[in-house]
């Protein structure tokens, strides 16, 4: 018995050794293929949680067409993606907001030249639980809800119930975009850049978690991108001002510009893209790539 165990142990050791060698060899060969041959090599895309579903579809299709290419996609948030671009740890940064001047300065200080490419658009839907009778809100009301000025649904025509305002955390481009365009009401006469999310707003680590909480909680409100809206939540019609008509978020209303909370989805690279990365972005912008945008639930480039 003991001998058998010893034999097994030896076997495991050998197996582990082989595994290590294998991984090492794979690592070497991987580095080897990062040559400037146009359709091979590996690169990574880090950034927005919102753009991730779209980027994943593009990356999958592109890798199917060019089997030598390896693309790694991850979506911690636009801020995280831009930080990764500045720190030089990503090849492409996917973002759901434009880069800030301060970040451009930091990038330049690090020798990185951010190059912006718009790949699609997104409409930011505001969703509530289907049991909630409220069906439309103005931007001003939304702002008041998110600075914790309005705290009860009856103040906006709903039930007498407290409002549970959900938001993404500061990693997210959606957090920043919503703050600028809704909380601070950019572009409206009442715009006020000193407004901030109220302290009672829940900051969640992912968009999926917000959507599932809204599906469960009749008092919750959240703002996912169009691609994240499921059957279990109800999107609200948004009114630019109290007099204008409420517009529901959809690809059509975002394309014709009537939906007020739409935004560009962007890629940032260090300088103009070349080689494999350029061919990947060309694919994203091609008619075929843009067809995928509609399938995933976003708004293709007009």
């Amino acid at each position: 018995m003991i001998k058998l165990i010893k034999k097994m142990k030896k076997g495991w050791l050998a197996l582990a050794l082989v595994a290590v060698l294998f991984v090492a060899a794979a690592g070497c060969s991987n580095q080897g293929t990062t040559a400037d041959d146009e359709f091979s090599g590996s690169f990574n895309i880090i950034g927005s949680n919102t753009v991730t579903p779209l980027t994943s579809v593009w990356a999958e299709n592109f890798m199917k067409m060019h089997t030598e290419v390896n693309i790694a996609v991850s979506g911690p948030g636009s801020g995280a993606g831009i930080a990764a671009l500045i720190n030089g740890t990503t090849d492409i940064c996917q973002a759901s907001r434009t880069i800030k001047q301060q970040e451009v300065d930091q990038a330049k200080a690090n020798g990185v030249e951010p190059y912006e490419i718009q790949v699609a658009s997104d409409a930011l839907s505001v969703v509530v639980n289907p049991a909630n009778p409220v069906s439309e809100l103005t931007i001003t009301q939304l702002s008041a809800i998110y600075i914790n000025q309005i705290t009860n649904w009856k103040e906006v025509g709903g039930n007498d119930a407290p409002i549970v305002a959900l938001s993404r955390d500061t990693n997210s481009g959606t957090h920043v975009f919503f703050k600028e365009h809704v909380v601070q009401m950019a572009g409206l006469p009442s715009a006020d850049e000193s407004l901030e999310y109220g302290p009672k707003v829940l900051l969640l680590p992912s968009t999926e978690e917000g959507v599932s909480e809204v599906a469960r909680n009749p008092n919750a409100i959240f703002y996912p991108g169009l691609g994240y809206v499921t059957e279990e939540v109800k999107p609200l019609a948004i009114k630019q001002t109290a007099d204008s008509e409420g517009v529901l978020p959809s690809v059509a209303t975002a394309l014709d510009g009537t939906y007020p909370i739409a935004r560009p989805l962007l890629y940032y690279t260090n300088g103009e893209p070349t080689g494999t990365i350029k061919s990947f972005i060309d694919y994203c912008l091609s008619p075929e790539g843009q067809e995928r945008v509609t399938e995933v639930g976003y708004v293709p480039l007009g």
Partner: protein
């Protein structure tokens, strides 16, 4: 018969043959182990130095008073403000809830296992309890999100089930195995003479547990509690998922809140190396490190005292 099969004897047998086989490499292995030992210390010092180097510069921008007692955390605003009071209070609330549950349940469970349960039950239950410790924290977070938070919400009629209380309950489940395991060891280390003496004086089993065994093992139980507290303070993924993440200073544990670990996790991806937010997050890390270090030191001290108490 059973003596021959005991693991100790087997181990000795293996050791002998191993020794014969590995003797040529022994010096090499010895050196390697020595390096590994030193490496741990080097890494620890390196981490402390890094935390200090990256975290302390924030106090040039924000005074320590404002940092520790400020209630506003707006790292991506212009100008940014960094007040960690909400995170600090949230950590205290969640740790309190987790400790209250894990201590009351854990010590009772340990007392049962050590004093009452037959050996067979103990030998089955204890490993099962220890398996609970092996659950990945993201799984616990997922369970909290999907099962516990709706329960907490409807049971207490809250606005949202994502609260410090929910996080505290999940964390108590995660620190429970440590509390049970260490307290049980402490209770079993109390010499049997003590119990026999109590019984001889006519004490019931409950009186013996309450007045003899538990006081005798108190330092070990304290250490168990401290270890559980340390686990609860440092846990990140679960609290990030279920604590709710509101930035207000929580007045009660039923409110959504963001403890220090979640604040670091949700902000660090966004932080540019060397930026103000980056420094502030490292400073939070430093605070967290100091707290867990203090807790672990106390636990270590107390455990040491327990060992000396019964050393013969």
């Amino acid at each position: 018969m059973s003596e021959r099969k005991s693991p100790a004897v087997t181990a000795v047998g293996v050791k002998k043959t191993l020794r014969r086989r590995w003797r040529p490499g022994e010096k090499f292995i010895e050196g390697w182990i020595f390096l590994a030992g030193i490496l741990a210390i080097v890494i620890l010092l390196g981490i402390i130095a890094l935390l200090l180097k990256e975290g302390l510069p924030i106090f040039i921008h924000t005074t320590p008073w404002e940092f520790f007692f400020g209630t506003k955390w707006y790292p991506v605003s212009e100008p940014p403000t960094f007040g960690i009071m909400p995170f600090f209070v949230a950590t205290i609330w969640i740790t309190l809830v987790a400790t209250a549950i894990s201590v009351s349940v854990g010590i009772a469970c340990a007392a049962y296992l050590a004093e009452v349960a037959p050996a067979k039950v103990r030998e089955t239950v204890k490993p099962i309890v220890e398996i609970l410790a092996g659950f990945p924290s993201v799984v616990m977070g997922f369970i909290g999100l999907m099962l516990l938070s709706p329960l907490v919400q409807s049971a207490l009629n809250l606005n949202t089930g994502l609260s410090g209380l929910t996080a505290g309950i999940m964390l108590s489940l995660m620190s429970l195995p440590i509390v049970i395991s260490v307290s049980e060891d402490a209770l079993r280390a109390v010499p049997d003479d003590f119990r026999q003496a109590a019984y001889a004086l006519g004490a019931t089993r409950w009186e013996t547990i309450w007045h003899v065994s538990i006081p005798g093992a108190l330092s070990g139980i304290t250490a168990a509690i401290m270890l559980g507290v340390g686990r609860a303070i440092g846990e990140t993924m679960t609290v990030l998922m279920v604590a709710g993440g509101a930035l207000a200073v929580p007045i009660s544990p039923t409110e959504p809140m963001m403890p220090m670990t979640a604040a670091i996790a949700s902000g660090i991806g966004n932080a540019v190396r060397g930026g103000l937010q980056y420094q502030a997050l490292f400073a939070i890390g430093l605070v967290l490190f100091v707290i867990t270090l203090a807790v672990n030191l106390v636990a270590d001290r107390v455990l040491e005292r327990q060992k000396r108490k019964f050393a013969r």
